[in-house]
């Protein structure tokens, strides 16, 4: 067992974890942060994407112990105060989700994409989201949503 100290969606947690525990399992099973789902076992789908110290990571590729001392934001903490982050709003406005299973990861990845490239082209968005799979939408409305979010001034949340 190893002791970790993390802040997740603004709340600090100190926990004993098995060294092999993946961050995504820690989030879901220990903290009940089930808004972040698991879609694969080969780090292929991106459904589990969260932000670790402001940068998007696939939480199934990070051990919980590696997140020790880190600040983690999940989809549940992206927009505190009950408002929507501009990316969440854009996904809603542009019908960028159907079943919604890929959506938490897709949104977290897209937020990070705009952090590094605030005004991406369609092709840059497609390339930037290559690590996130969606089986429902065909991606076109996701691209549209990310462009719409890019054109929205960042508010308090983002």
């Amino acid at each position: 067992m190893a002791r970790i100290d993390v802040t997740v969606d603004g709340v600090r947690y100190t926990d004993e974890v098995e060294p092999r525990t993946l961050l995504v399992h820690y989030l879901r099973e220990r903290l009940g942060k089930v808004g972040t789902p698991i879609g694969c076992d080969t780090s292929s789908c991106g459904a589990c994407t969260v932000h670790l110290d402001g940068i998007s990571v696939k939480s199934c590729t990070v051990l919980a112990v590696q997140a020790d001392g880190g600040q983690i934001t999940t989809i549940e903490g992206l927009a505190p105060n009950g408002e929507l982050h501009r990316m969440q709003q854009a996904f809603h406005d542009n019908h960028a989700l159907q079943c919604g299973y890929c959506t938490p990861g897709m949104i977290m990845a897209a937020v990070d994409l705009l952090r590094t490239n605030p005004d991406p082209t369609n092709q840059e968005i497609r390339d930037g989201l290559e690590g996130n799979l969606c089986r429902c939408t065909g991606y076109q409305n996701i691209v549209r949503a990310v462009r719409a979010a890019a054109a929205t001034p960042t508010g308090v949340t983002g």
């Binding site: 099973e29 789908c45 927009a79 890929c102 429902c136 065909g138």
Partner: protein
């Protein structure tokens, strides 16, 4: 064309047709979701399966004792331990009276029939402990020959998947227009064409590769045996069917079982199933008296959840030199895999009625031989039978055009049903109620700029450009809205095709509508609210759509076959009619007027000639709740329910045009433009319709270019993870141009047809036709799907007279 125009919602504007943003999104974009795997119950145990690493083998020994002593383990079970040896999972479709059906056990006990089949299961305190322990269970296998090739499986003396059936042939199903009286004898058409220099006879063999549905949410089931009922949560498309089938299979009284499909992350037919793991989870929970959860890994999902497609299609088409088709003969081999799932043997039959597509063929025969192999079973996957048929016929129309030197669009125009010919009875005996192929095609050609692309193509050919341009056409139709119960009965399907809805008018005027349809991404909560807002004249926001819990929605047949809107929503419309009729009687009483003088518009009842005498349906809901003053002889309730059984299928159609650039030096294919003009009848929510089309296109294009479930010669799935199986990511797909024409369906009061499968059905042949169109002049006559760069390059190389069997890549 009759069409009941719905009334309006309370604010006087119509909700139907509006691009409403979805209600569902609020929880989905914030992570407030209820996936089955999110559920945690007190004392809940976790399952991990021990699975066969071999395709076909006798089990000689299972030793569970090493696992039993592992940390956290509560139980390790074989089929015998669970009393499951006599249990067979259900197949609901006996396609022929003499169909051969093996027992499909929840866990294999004597023989395994595909790699990945479960042989034992571990229950432990955590999922990780269960997995660790499962890896220690010792199973000895005595390998048997795998059965992998359909044609070899049918040969005399072939190794048998299920020796007790004495054959690998599951069933032979035949339709002949000569016998049905709907057309001529296709053998005569072939003989006549062979003898006639002004006719052509075209034979082709196409392969529908095996696909993985690959919904993004892996399957998961939780069973809670505490309390009076067994409660099962499952990531399923079909909670009602799952409940009834589980009750029948296990002998559980149906009223003692409750099934809940909470948020479900996609299905595409892949969750139209009763899975062995669902049954095992229930058996273990019942045995241990504790809540139990099973959640699969993605790799387990790819290996064991049912696959789709997998057909060999032999086609013979005859036509005059002017392009008029005179006959079509279809002989299919369809791979069932090792077992029969819910509708496995019927999937190819759903295509039987669609090979003639939008065309007037005078003679048609279809035969399908279903074959067992030692692979994962196949079953419904988006389109189920109809994409296979559409692919084949749309490819054949291009082959015919190439043979005759005609423009492929002209060949289609020559044969299609003209808009003034509807309703039209097809050679496959379906009655197409409405359609306008000319309109959809004209619009698609306009958006695509068909003539300009043909000019560019000619120029590139002339100049010998290494990048050649190809144009692919798919003028498709499909049968949706599964299904008229009588038709299903005639096809020996084990259930009907109706759908149920009920409406509860709450005291405050809010409305709960319960639908038997079971969404998993389609947006029912939004679309149903729009429709009901118009019907009842209440605000969109005042409606809650309830579904997916058999305790709330006691009756339903769930979601598949593009049936939700054209069957499920119509049941809701019928229920709304009953609510309004009940409310009308009470309105007459309250307004002291004769019932015949009461008018209903936009949620308000008023008295003819005295516009001030009025009350709303929401006010009546409160009056009925109080029940202080209502007419004699009626019950104080507005609540209603209705069951709708469609009288016909609906027939969406459309024209898809695809332009591809094929690099003749590398084999790389680039989709340059894709235009889809679909006619799905009236549209409730254009945003949702567009989304369905996009998603369908992505899956259909992926079949053409990327996806294939491949087994090696030992029967192991070698594309068993998302690393090996190429699901398209965003850079792999183009922007689509989508538009619609509207020819309302006449078979339901909303004039809707359904849109769930159209994109997947239409797009595969459009893409492959485009690739072939780019390289046909170089001598390439076929490229098997998926048309990977390597396959395109090899086809080009073979056509040029080089050898294509070198191990290396592009020279």
């Amino acid at each position: 064309m009759t069409q009941t125009v719905p009334t309006e919602s309370a604010n006087g504007t119509r909700e139907i047709g509006r691009a409403r943003r979805r209600k569902e999104d609020a929880r989905l974009v914030t992570g407030r979701t209820r996936w089955t795997d999110n559920i945690t119950l007190p004392g809940m145990l976790h399952l991990a399966f021990v699975r066969s690493p071999i395709a076909h083998a006798r089990i000689t020994r299972i030793d569970t004792s090493p696992a039993a002593g592992m940390p956290g383990v509560v139980g390790v079970f074989t089929a015998a331990d669970l009393g499951a040896e006599g249990i067979g999972l259900p197949c609901a479709w006996q396609v022929t009276p003499d169909m051969k059906a093996p027992q499909r056990p929840p866990l294999a006990s004597q023989t395994v029939h595909f790699a990945g089949e479960g042989v034992a299961v571990v229950a432990a305190r955590t999922a990780a402990e269960a997995r660790d322990a499962a890896d220690t269970v010792e199973v000895d296998y005595d390998p048997l020959e795998p059965v992998l090739d359909m044609e070899a499986a049918l040969a005399d003396g072939a190794n048998l998947v299920h020796p007790e059936l004495e054959t690998n042939r599951n069933a032979l199903w035949v339709f002949d227009s000569a016998g049905a009286g709907s057309g001529g004898n296709v053998d005569h058409a072939i003989t006549a064409a062979e003898a006639d220099p002004d006719s052509v006879v075209i034979h082709r063999r196409f392969r529908q590769q095996r696909l993985v549905p690959a919904f993004m949410e892996p399957r998961s089931t939780v069973v809670d045996p505490t309390g009076e009922q067994l409660t099962m949560w499952s990531a399923t498309q079909v909670p009602h069917i799952l409940k009834t089938m589980t009750a029948l299979s296990l002998g559980i009284p149906e009223h003692k079982l409750r099934v809940i499909a909470p948020d479900v992350g996609g299905g595409f037919g892949g969750k139209l199933a009763v899975a062995p793991e669902e049954i095992v989870t229930l058996l273990v929970a019942r045995k241990l008296g504790k809540p139990v959860k099973w959640t699969e890994t993605r790799s387990e999902c790819m290996l064991t959840a049912h696959h789709g497609r997998d057909q060999i299609q032999d086609l013979t088409l005859t036509a005059g030199r002017d392009g008029t088709v005179t006959g079509l003969k279809v002989d299919l081999l369809a791979d069932m895999g090792a077992y029969l799932g819910l509708v496995t043997p019927g999937v190819p039959l759903l295509g039987a009625f669609m090979f003639n597509a939008i065309y007037k063929f005078p003679a048609y025969r279809f035969s399908c031989t279903n074959v067992f192999t030692t692979k994962t079973l196949t079953d419904a996957y988006r389109g189920a039978g109809r994409p296979e048929a559409t692919f084949a016929i749309e490819r054949m129309m291009d082959e015919l055009a190439a043979e005759l030197g005609m423009d492929p669009m002209d060949v289609r125009k020559k044969n299609w049903i003209r808009h003034e010919e509807f309703p039209f009875t097809t050679v496959a005996t379906l009655v197409y109620d409405s359609g306008n192929y000319e309109a959809a095609t004209a619009r698609a050609e306009e958006l695509f700029d068909y003539p300009a692309l043909r000019r560019e193509q000619a120029e590139r050919r002339r100049s010998g450009d290494p990048v050649q341009l190809g144009i692919g056409i798919s003028t498709y139709t499909e049968m949706c809205g599964l299904a008229p119960s009588r038709v299903l009965g005639a096809l020996a399907y084990g259930a009907g095709g109706w759908e149920h809805a009920s409406i509860r008018m709450l005291p405050t005027g809010k409305v709960e509508v319960v639908t038997g349809s079971s969404p998993h991404g389609q947006g029912h909560e939004t679309a149903w609210s729009q429709i009901l807002a118009d019907q009842l004249g209440v605000p969109f926001e005042d409606i809650e759509v309830l579904h997916g819990d058999t305790q709330v929605s006691h009756k339903g047949l769930d979601t598949y076959g593009s049936r939700s809107l054209s069957v499920g929503a119509i049941a809701m419309v019928k229920a709304a009619d009953k609510v309004i009729e009940k409310a009308r009687r009470i309105a007459a009483h309250l307004l002291e007027a004769a019932e015949g003088d009461i008018e209903f518009h936009a949620g308000t009842f008023s008295v003819k000639g005295s516009p001030d005498a009025r009350t709303t349906i929401q006010e009546i809901a409160l009056a009925v709740f109080a029940a202080h003053d209502y007419p004699e002889g009626i019950e104080p309730s507005l609540d209603s329910d209705a069951t709708f059984d469609p009288e016909n299928f609906s027939f969406p159609h459309g024209t898809h045009l695809c332009a591809t650039e094929v690099d003749t030096e590398t084999g790389a294919v680039r989709l340059r433009s894709y235009v889809a003009v679909d006619d799905v009848g009236n549209v409730v929510n254009p945003l949702i319709v567009e989304g369905q089309v996009h998603g369908g296109l992505a899956q259909g294009i992926a079949q053409a270019l990327y996806e294939e479930a491949i087994y090696d010669s030992d029967g192991n799935l070698v594309t068993g993870t998302l690393v090996d199986y190429l699901l398209p990511a965003a850079p792999d797909l183009p922007d689509f141009t989508t538009e619609r024409t509207t020819t309302p369906a006449t078979s339901n009061p909303l004039g809707v047809k359904g849109v769930g499968e159209a994109g997947a059905i239409a797009s595969t042949p459009a893409v492959v036709n485009a690739i072939l169109d780019a390289v046909r002049h170089l001598g390439v006559i076929d490229i098997p799907m998926p048309c990977s760069p390597e396959r395109v390059w090899r086809a080009l190389r073979t056509a040029r007279g080089g050898t294509a069997h070198t191990a290396g890549g592009p020279a």
